[in-house]
């Protein structure tokens, strides 16, 4: 977009450092990464080039919910992204801890840093991750910091509070890291990467110069071909002994002893939670995930805990394969401040402070992908704000990013928010391969991709349309192609011209043909919803004066001032009966307006 931008970070060397496991994608998140790529983001290409294991999840559950996932080389991922930033024109990167914001006339105009250097800007984006008053727990032991070995952003919170932004606490956790050569892999089940890896970036439309990898010498070159030389993960399980250890030491866990006030995610339960809340489950699955090619560090996925270190050691040793494991870093829980996201507009701009944008964990989300998506949207909208352009708002039916932001700003969240495919009502439209096509209009309008790439996407869309139409109308022995496909009849050969198309064109065409009935059903529902979105709420409305509307709803509506009924209905705390009242009132108001004015 070409805007002059400054990136401030507390430590340049930890840009794009993955605090949790070095895995990108997975259910719904994989689709988000492809959407990020469709909007010109870096995450997909960075993952492809530094990935060490690629797997397509949900293969048997249908093409729409299939999600790519990759295990990355933690250091390679980080180096490449830092290098990408260094190469970015108009971007200045500088190391300094932001200590506060500078306001003028209710707007943010810049920030202060620990170096006593002030920076001014027309818009400011805050992405604090888990660092905002970050507090780490290992049993009773507490350390300030957003990540083991890192600092905590302590004074920024007061600046936000001062500006009228409400803050709350969340909690997340991470498991122990162990030394690979201390693991006994015999008897453990191996999980290999896919032979034909599914990559994240749209290599069919991307410009080829994106494919590089950064060598320790700082040299850019293709280190390993995306998806080649994959490394395996390994599976093991907890034992009855593990359960005994956890139960006997429960009172020492930071979470169970009341040390932690922040709310943790329900979908990523600590091992304490797993044994306590799901006592009927005899054992819990754990993955041993390598953290890179040039390290022997392994991540025990599934063993997040805030038990004291000595208990962690016993716990790890109670697990098959890990009897002799050497711990490199302990598991810990981290608490941090977040700003309940209902305080933002759908553009991710704060409602309280003009020109202030928020993205990532500060908005209550968890996950690299959710954070990256918000960072991208906030970045685009901050630039558009400066230029006086309308914000880019991705709709709920256009992609997971749309669902993510709409959920955040209309419903808020009480736990770290993670995307699931089940959060999307139009999930069948969100197959990962269609991300570029779904979001084309946005990347075109906001100038997010190179002209050459936009052209290639357009060509791809045309080819898909052509072949979809061809298959829907052309006959072959035994009927029209499309019907044979939908009846899942064995197809000896599809038209030769079609088979000559690139894989991306073929797959998307067949998806559309195969799911035609369902996709049309989704479209009908979207149209129906759009009707509600079309019902504009007069801006003159005084919610607090509507007789009998529940107080909570009236206050929420008054606060959010939704533009249409669809938005109003999604605001948390506004109940359907109140929406009905609103609907009837608007209808009545429209009716009285359309009446001819009385004479005199």
């Amino acid at each position: 977009m070409g805007a002059s931008t400054l990136l401030l970070t507390g430590n340049i060397d930890t840009i794009a450092q993955m605090s949790c496991n070095p895995a990108i994608g997975g259910q719904a998140k994989g689709q988000i990464v492809r959407e990020i790529d469709a909007l010109g983001g870096e995450m997909a290409i960075n993952t492809d080039v530094t990935g060490i294991q690629f797997r397509l999840l949900n293969e048997s559950k249908g093409p729409a919910v299939q999600s790519p996932r990759a295990q990355c080389d933690k250091k390679a991922y980080q180096f490449r992204l830092k290098h990408t930033l260094e190469l970015q024109p108009n971007l200045q990167v500088f190391q300094a801890t932001v200590t506060g914001l500078i306001f003028a006339a209710g707007k943010v105009v810049g920030c202060q840093t620990s170096l006593d250097i002030e920076f001014l800007g027309q818009t400011v984006i805050i992405t604090t991750g888990t660092f905002l008053r970050g507090l780490m727990h290992v049993g009773q032991n507490k350390n300030e910091g957003g990540r083991l070995g890192d600092f905590s952003a302590k004074s920024l919170s007061s600046s936000l509070l001062e500006a009228g932004i409400e803050l709350q606490r969340l909690k997340t956790g991470t498991p122990p890291r162990i030394l690979g050569r201390s693991i006994n892999f015999t008897g453990l089940q191996e999980q290999k990467g896919d032979l034909a890896p599914t990559l994240f970036a749209f290599h069919d439309t991307r410009d080829p110069e994106d494919l590089f990898h950064v060598e320790p010498t700082g040299e850019r070159r293709l280190g390993w071909k995306p998806g080649s030389e994959q490394i395996s993960c390994w599976m093991t399980y907890t034992t009855p002994e593990s359960e005994r250890i956890v139960r006997e030491n429960l009172h020492k866990s930071a979470m169970y002893s009341g040390e932690i006030v922040g709310v943790g995610p329900r979908y990523c339960p600590s091992i304490e939670d797993k044994f306590v809340r799901f006592a009927d489950k005899p054992r819990h699955l754990l993955f041993l995930e390598p953290e890179g090619r040039s390290t022997n560090e392994y991540y025990i996925n599934g063993l997040s805990t805030s038990l004291p270190f000595d208990v962690q050691v016993d716990l790890v040793h109670s697990i098959p394969g890990l009897e002799q494991a050497a711990l490199l870093r302990p598991a810990y829980a981290v608490e941090y401040d977040f700003a309940p996201p209902t305080q933002m507009f759908p553009s991710l701009e704060s409602r309280k402070v003009e020109n202030l944008f928020l993205a990532g964990q500060i908005n209550g989300t968890s996950g690299y992908e959710e954070a990256a998506a918000q960072g991208l949207v906030a970045g685009v909208n901050a630039v558009r704000k400066v230029r006086g352009e309308n914000p880019m708002i991705i709709q709920r039916h256009e992609g997971y990013i749309g669902v993510l932001i709409d959920d955040l700003v209309t419903k808020g969240t009480t736990e770290p928010y993670r995307m699931f495919t089940s959060r999307a009502e139009h999930r069948l439209l969100f197959n990962h391969g269609s991300a570029e096509l779904r979001l084309y209009q946005h990347s075109l309008n906001c100038n997010l991709l190179s002209l050459s790439r936009l052209g290639r996407i357009r060509q791809k869309a045309l080819a898909i349309e052509y072949w979809e139409n061809y298959i829907e109308t052309m006959k072959t022995a035994g009927g029209i192609w499309a019907e044979k496909i939908r009846r899942s009849e064995p197809l000896n050969e599809l038209p030769a011209g079609f088979l000559a198309q690139p894989k991306e064109v073929r797959e998307e065409t067949l998806y559309r043909v195969r799911y035609r009935g369902y996709l049309e059903r989704e479209q009908r529902q979207i149209e129906k919803l759009k009707d509600v979105e079309k019902i504009k709420i007069p801006s003159s409305i005084d919610y607090l004066a509507i007789p009998g509307m529940r107080r909570e709803s009236a206050l929420k509506l008054h606060q959010f001032r939704p533009e249409n009924l669809g938005q109003a209905a999604r605001i948390s705390g506004v109940n359907p009966a109140d929406i009905s009242i609103l609907m009837v009132l608007i209808a009545a108001a429209n009716r009285s307006q359309s009446r001819p004015p009385a004479a005199g």
């Binding site: 249908g62 919910v65 009502e425 359907p576 009966a577 009242i581």
Partner: protein, 450 residues
């Protein structure tokens, strides 16, 4: 934007002469009105006795009145209820006076509309009130009353919670594939789906009964020409509604009248006599009779006892059964020729449409059969309306589609898609169901995630 603020007034009890009538006024002016009419500022929710004097100071009646302050009233607005003597003349006087004092005459259902607008009732309750207003029989009233108290809402909640359970299982399997879910048991899901489909059908089945309650039981009088069908209709209606003549073939076109039989409302339909060798004109009449018979709920088969036993056309005979037919042996004031023995197991009643003999027995028999149409859910009387039925039908179809896909092993994303369509359909009755509900269920029942 403005909100309803004018004060409306109307008679709240049924029109006609009864001991007590109640006039209701609702709106912002009510407190002022009460002070004007009765001289003192009224205490809310207290029954007071007072003279009602019109604007010119003339005494109209001595009345009881109650003032309800907003929002604790039926409409959610300030409300005044005036109970006067049930003389239509007095009621008229009071209403005229209220209008003279600045009230507006309420439109039909306007009190309910305001109650709805003011959040005093949900959509299904508001619908029930409309049903109450239009209730044609005691039974319809009972059903509408029950719905008003939320019995439909309760049943809907039960369906929705079952469906969310099922959906959560399918979704868990999609969103957390790495984990070995304890309930990847497809058979259990299929069983749950069966149970849910049955429950949905049971609720759906009350639709027809609901229609019977709201619109009346469609009751067709049929029989040979001259058997006395029109005479019977006139008897049941209570006045000369249909033309009666000694000449067979008098009734050419069908004719409908609404009557009450005990607690039930009946749409009584007189038809042209069924003649086995009709003239062309009669033939058209008979075709219409058959059309009516095809969608009837109840049949009164009138048989002339002074003539040999008639034979029914097979198309008609096929529709008749002991549950829906009464054999009415008419003209029993005259000597009988045919024995009252029929080759069917229908219940029978002997009457004379001319003298009125046996009419009570016939009404009792009609009531008994009509009771048999009652479709309850459990021992509760529920009668859904057509809008509900439409949504339930859609829900049911999607449940069946999901069931089929699941048993054929078709991908779970499509199974989930059908289940969601079904959930949306149920949401049309009880309000939109948020995705969060599914996730809440999912997190509380499954140990998922890493």
């Amino acid at each position: 934007m403005s909100f309803p603020s004018d004060t409306i007034a109307a008679l709240a009890t049924p029109v006609g002469t009864s001991a007590i009538a109640m006039v209701r006024a609702s709106g912002a002016q009510v407190a002022t009105l009460a002070t004007e009419i009765f001289g003192a500022t009224p205490l809310p929710r207290t029954v007071r006795h007072a003279d009602y004097r019109d604007a010119r100071g003339q005494l109209v009646d001595d009345v009881l009145f109650t003032y309800f302050a907003a929002p604790n009233s039926f409409t959610g607005e300030d409300t005044l209820e005036i109970s006067c003597h049930g003389n239509p003349f007095i009621v008229q006087k009071i209403l005229e006076d209220l209008l003279a004092r600045g009230c507006r005459a309420a439109e039909a259902g306007e009190f309910s509309k305001r109650a709805f607008l003011n959040g005093r009732m949900d959509l299904s309750q508001a619908e029930a009130v409309m049903d109450l207003i239009h209730a044609r029989s005691e039974r319809a009233l009972a059903a509408a009353n029950l719905q008003l108290r939320g019995s439909l809402g309760r049943h809907m909640n039960s369906l929705i919670s079952q469906l969310i359970n099922i959906l959560a299982e399918v979704e868990a399997y999609i969103d957390f594939p790495d984990e070995d879910l304890p309930t990847a048991d497809r058979k259990a899901v299929l069983r749950d789906l069966d149970v849910l489909t049955t429950a949905t059908s049971r609720l759906l089945a009350t639709c027809h009964y609901g229609q019977l309650l709201r619109e009346g039981i469609k009751t067709v009088i049929l029989g040979e020409p001259n058997a006395g069908k029109s005479s019977l209709l006139n008897r049941l209606v209570g006045h000369e509604r249909a033309l009666v003549d000694p000449e067979p073939g008098t009734t050419r076109d069908y004719l409908e009248e609404l009557i009450l039989a005990g607690p039930h409302a009946l749409r009584l339909i007189d038809t042209a006599g069924l003649n086995l060798s009709p003239s062309p004109l009669e033939k058209r009449g008979i075709e219409k009779s058959l059309e009516q018979a095809a969608e009837a709920d109840l049949f009164l088969w009138v048989i002339d006892t002074t003539r040999p036993l008639p034979v029914l056309p097979p198309v008609v005979a096929a529709r008749l059964s002991a549950a829906n037919t009464i054999a009415v042996f008419n003209k029993c004031d005259l000597p009988a020729v045919s024995p009252d023995l029929l080759p069917y197991n229908f219940s029978s009643v002997k009457i004379s449409a001319l003298t009125g003999r046996g009419l009570e027995a016939l009404q009792a028999e009609i009531s008994r059969l009509a009771d048999g149409f009652k479709v309850g859910v459990g021992d509760e009387l529920i009668a859904i309306n057509v809008r509900h039925a439409h949504a339930l039908e859609q829900a049911k179809q999607s449940l069946e589609a999901a069931h089929q896909k699941l048993s054929l092993g078709i991908t779970s994303e499509l199974v989930a898609s059908d289940l969601r369509v079904s959930l949306d359909a149920l949401g049309q009755i009880s309000g939109k169901i948020d995705n969060e509900k599914i996730l809440d269920r999912l997190f509380s029942s499954f140990c998922i995630g890493k």
